[in-house]
């Protein structure tokens, strides 16, 4: 069903500012197609701004964002909406709107005046509800759901949009641990079984390491380093990006790097066993 070669989203010399304040300066980035990429960085490092720029929610002050070589700012926004989906940070549905109404709106870029609810709309929405385990809750108002269910409903909406590229801005914020894992597992399913390109912003470095194929570390509006988590994550990098002293060990479950902050009151003991370099 999907094209063999996944479309590629790319930022070229991107600069974004709010008023006089420059947030991102001269940034180049290729979103690796068919992979899960995670942007990490401290607060105000510009990671959310970058994601929003990739989704044309912010217009660049300089440079551009291209999809397969074509500037997204010159593209009809509806056409782009069929290829790139975005879930903003903590979106709010109108009070009383049901899950199916919300998810159905994800089909908008594929609909028109004379095609308001085609068979493919119905199948795609049903499939999105199935993937997110929301079928049984389809007729429930979104505001009456738990945090995890609500986030799944929004993800279902983004899935119903049926785009090759999915951008997620902190999809785990405000969720408890079980729901965070649930959402991230779902993202991984989408990537592994459906071949979606995913780029998301995550706060938790360890979750980023576990779920990402590619990590983009940002500081002060610039990309400090990027690459696969196992090659990238060192105590030095964490110190540089987050200004936190830490040990990096191997996650006993996933085998990915696990970052353990040190803080002022503790000192690492028995550090020799760990395979990753220590600050």
């Amino acid at each position: 069903m999907r094209p063999e070669i996944a479309p590629t989203l790319r930022a070229e010399g991107l600069a974004v500012s709010y008023g006089d304040r420059s947030i991102i300066t001269d940034l180049d980035l290729v979103v690796p197609p068919g992979k899960i990429s995670v942007i990490v960085g401290a607060n105000a490092s510009g990671k959310s701004t970058l994601l929003r720029s990739l989704a044309r929610l912010l217009s660049p002050a300089a440079g551009q964002v291209c999809l397969d070589g074509e500037s997204i700012h010159a593209m009809p926004t509806r056409e782009l909406a069929r290829m790139v989906g975005l879930l903003p940070q903590s979106p709010v549905a109108p009070e009383g709107m049901t899950v199916i109404d919300l998810v159905g709106r994800g089909r908008a870029p594929h609909q028109s005046w004379w095609r308001q609810w085609s068979h493919s709309d119905e199948e795609t929405v049903r499939h999105a509800l199935e993937l997110t385990s929301m079928l049984d809750l389809a007729e429930r108002p979104v505001d009456e759901l738990s945090g995890g269910q609500r986030q799944r409903a929004w993800i279902a909406m983004a899935l119903a949009q049926d785009t090759d590229i999915l951008l997620l801005d902190e999809p785990t914020t405000f969720l408890d641990m079980a729901h965070q894992i649930e959402v991230l597992d779902l993202v991984m399913d989408l990537n592994r079984t459906r071949g979606r390109t995913v780029m998301m912003v995550l706060h938790d470095l360890n979750q980023a390491c576990r779920y990402a194929d590619h990590i983009v570390a940002m500081k002060s509006g610039r990309i400090v380093a990027q690459g696969p988590p196992a090659d990238l994550l060192t105590a030095e990098l964490v110190d540089e990006v987050f200004d936190v002293r830490c040990c990096v060990v191997t996650d006993p479950v996933s085998g990915t790097p696990l970052v353990i902050p040190i803080g002022r009151h503790h000192e690492p003991r028995n550090v020799a066993r760990h395979p990753f370099p220590i600050h």
Binding site: V84, L87, P91, V92, W113, R115
Partner: protein, 353 residues
Amino acid sequence: MALLELTRQPGRIAVRLGPTSAVIRPRMLAVCLGLAVASALAFAVELSFGDYPIPLLDVVRALFGVGDRATLFVIEELRLPRALVGLLVGCAFGVSGALFQTLTRNPLASPDMIGLSSGSATAVVAAMVLGFGAGLGTQALGLFGGIATAVLIYGLAWKGGTTGYRIVLVGIGISWMCTSLTSYLLVKADMWEAQQVLRWIIGSLNGADWVHVTPLAWAVLVLGIAVLLLSRWLRLLQLGTDVATALGVPVRFAQPALIVTAAALVSFATAATGPIVFVALTAPQIAQRLTGCAWPPLVASGLTGSFLVLGSDLIAQRVIPGTLLPIGVVTGAFGGLFLLWLLTRANRVGSGG
């Protein structure tokens, strides 16, 4: 082979014919039909009431041009303009309120709360009292005042994008400034002018004439079509501007276009009758609860607005015998009560109604 295909789902029916498809919500359809019948009835009763009562059957016949000359004269020249203005103005207020409440995602953000009616009123009152722009006529002045206020509010609320909350706050500020300006003009005016102005400010169908009907009818028709064309974007703007953009809505064009359309609707209506308070606020909320939607439904809001204005006018005409009470007094009193009742009832049930 079945050409027409119906698929039933809870609360809606998908209709498909070849490559075309549509969604019908049976409850929405039923409520709209009910409201249309109720408005038509109120319209007919409005035509039959008065110093010279005309039986409903004769009213209907007169509408088709059948009847004696006296009846035809009373209906066509005296009562029809008033009823038509009521119908159109109510529809305009209702739809405009629904647009603003959806765009700002705030039920309080009706045009009369955020200063559009007051802006429109200030322009008309200024012209009445200061005597400028008399050649323009109230319609044009009201339109100018309303649109100018809308642009001012949008401009002041804009800060690299805007939120419903900021529009409401700026709007309330502008509303009070316009109200003070109108009060100042009233103080400046002489007694006779002041009385005219005051009557207009409260909102009244008493002066309604064919002069008002024609421009209003065109405005409602043209703007109504614009609203329908923009409504697919409105549906997505319910989810906020970020999600709407992600779903392919050109927000930077759609949002101002919707605001200008809504402002134009309310301005034309205000210019014809004065600001009839509370209709734009309550009609969409009533329609939303009747249809069980999570958002103010456009068509149902317009029909509810028409019914509210015509019904209130009937009450206004009857409550003190021999006096033509301005309709705004009734909508102000009953609209507020009705909204309070709806809200307390909704709280008790624990849902939107």
